[in-house]
């Protein structure tokens, strides 16, 4: 019998979808399936679309899907929406704005609940990208949850990060802030037909002044995602970033940094599951001793680790 990974890479959409669920749930067996898939990855171009809630990320993603499809590329989409911190439930509605692509076999869309992850993605997003990559999608678009200023995990997953801004959300000092403004390879000023768009472009240009002299200075595109205005031009600029990344070696560097993080993450996860077993037999006794100040937390931790 063929494995889920074999079925997925042979084009079985159900198998693909199930693999993504397994990665999201951290289901037993997913690691060995990922091992099987990994050699087939490395071909897809991953674009991250991030920005504040209501900036128009889903509508823009919808238009980008259309743009890339018209150029003949197949597109996978992973769209993350927030989960309730109280119940863990979620209403995932990014898809609502992209539903016209459901009838297109060259497009695979998947909604993900953030499930407590704080960086703007879900825990299985990275694996989701690898799965779609292995299944042959040319381009994978990741849409993050609506972010504030510091949810920057998307830079650890995407080859090209596109930060979507809209006029009227804050004064110029907002544009100077660290974090989200620093991870952009491209800026998009969406809803560019609204008052304040020119000023926003001007402010972002001011921030970019500080980056003068770098190999790649982010571009600023103006779009009206609702009508599709400016989307073709944005598509071209995204492509120039991809070409730059390939030629300059910046893409390879980014990939290596990403792999380092991933491998360390896997090790940490395995180690942290071992940590519990290090003291199951003596936990009560040691907790009591620390509580009564006969021992301190540092000594206990050091001693337990030395037994590992």
């Amino acid at each position: 019998m063929s494995t889920l990974a074999e079925r997925a890479t042979a084009g079985d959409v159900r198998a693909m979808a199930r693999l993504i669920s397994m990665a999201e749930d951290r289901a037993d067996g997913i690691d060995s399936l990922m091992k099987e898939l990994y050699p087939r990855t490395g071909r897809a171009w991953t674009i991250g679309v991030t920005g504040s809630p209501g900036a128009g990320k889903s509508t823009l993603t919808d238009k980008l899907i259309g743009h890339f499809r018209s150029k003949g590329s197949t597109v996978g989409v992973l769209a993350v929406d927030p989960s309730s911190p109280y119940t863990g439930g979620a209403i995932l509605a990014d898809r609502l704005r992209m539903q016209r692509h459901t009838d297109d076999d060259g497009v695979f869309m998947r909604s993900l609940g953030a499930r407590g992850s704080l960086g703007g993605l879900s825990r299985g997003t990275r694996e989701g990208v690898l799965i779609l990559d292995a299944c042959g999608y040319d381009i994978v678009i990741i849409e993050t949850v609506g972010v504030g200023q510091s949810e920057i995990d998307v830079m650890r997953v995407a080859d090209t990060v596109c930060v979507v801004l809209v006029p009227g959300l804050g004064d110029d000092i907002q544009a100077m802030k660290a974090g989200i403004m620093e991870i952009a390879d491209l800026f998009v000023v969406n809803k560019a037909d609204r008052p304040g768009a020119d000023r926003l472009v001007h402010e972002v240009r001011g921030v970019l002044e500080f980056l003068r002299g770098r190999d790649w200075v982010p571009t600023i595109s103006q779009t009206v995602a609702e009508t599709g205005d400016g989307v073709a031009e944005l598509g071209e600029r995204l492509l120039s970033h991809r070409e730059y990344s390939g030629k300059s070696g910046a893409g390879r560097e980014r990939e290596l940094a990403r792999l380092k993080t991933k491998i360390e993450e896997i090790m940490l996860e395995r180690l942290s599951s071992q940590v519990e077993t290090l003291w199951t037999d003596r936990r009560e006794e040691l907790l009591e001793a620390v509580h009564e100040r006969r021992l301190d937390p540092y000594t206990v931790a050091e001693e337990l680790l030395s037994r590992a």
């Binding site: 959409v13 999201e24 749930d25 439930g89 209403i91 898809r95 539903q99 009838d103 909604s111």
Partner: protein, 135 residues
């Protein structure tokens, strides 16, 4: 190490119904029960509903329908699921469906039909049990 599996439900509105208040009420109730709801909005074709459920790896499809065309839409969705080897995805429904029509929808393969006034807790309890026994 693996987490508890999350129940994922596509809430769909086929056909020409003009509003989706009922669908939103059930979507919110299921979310508050800890499920992940994929919401697709108005005027979905059966093909779109089934493709969505497959791509989203949904455990169930909830169809909300007010227009009176329930017989057609339920049959089409259930047939398409069979065609795509996805009959394990549970189909249930609600909206304005006359009592007399319910048995024939269940015969088609719908898991349950919840008429107007059904407490959302009834639907939640039923769905949790149905997903559990399926897997």
């Amino acid at each position: 190490m693996s987490d508890k599996k999350k129940i994922r439900v596509v809430i769909a509105k086929p056909g020409l119904d003009g509003h989706d208040r009922g669908a939103k009420v059930i979507a919110r109730a299921l979310r508050d029960a800890g499920m992940e709801i994929i919401y697709t909005g108005l005027r979905q074709t059966p093909e779109q509903i089934v493709t969505t459920a497959i791509q989203e790896d949904a455990d169930a499809i909830g169809i909300s329908i007010l227009s009176g065309a329930h017989q057609f839409y339920f049959k089409r969705v259930i047939d398409l699921l069979k065609e795509k080897n996805a009959s394990d995805i549970i189909v249930f429904g609600g909206g304005v469906i006359p009592e007399d029509d319910i048995p024939s929808l269940l015969d088609l393969g719908a898991g349950a039909i919840f008429g107007p006034g059904t407490p959302t807790s009834t639907a939640i309890e039923w769905l949790e049990k149905a997903v559990l026994t399926k897997s």
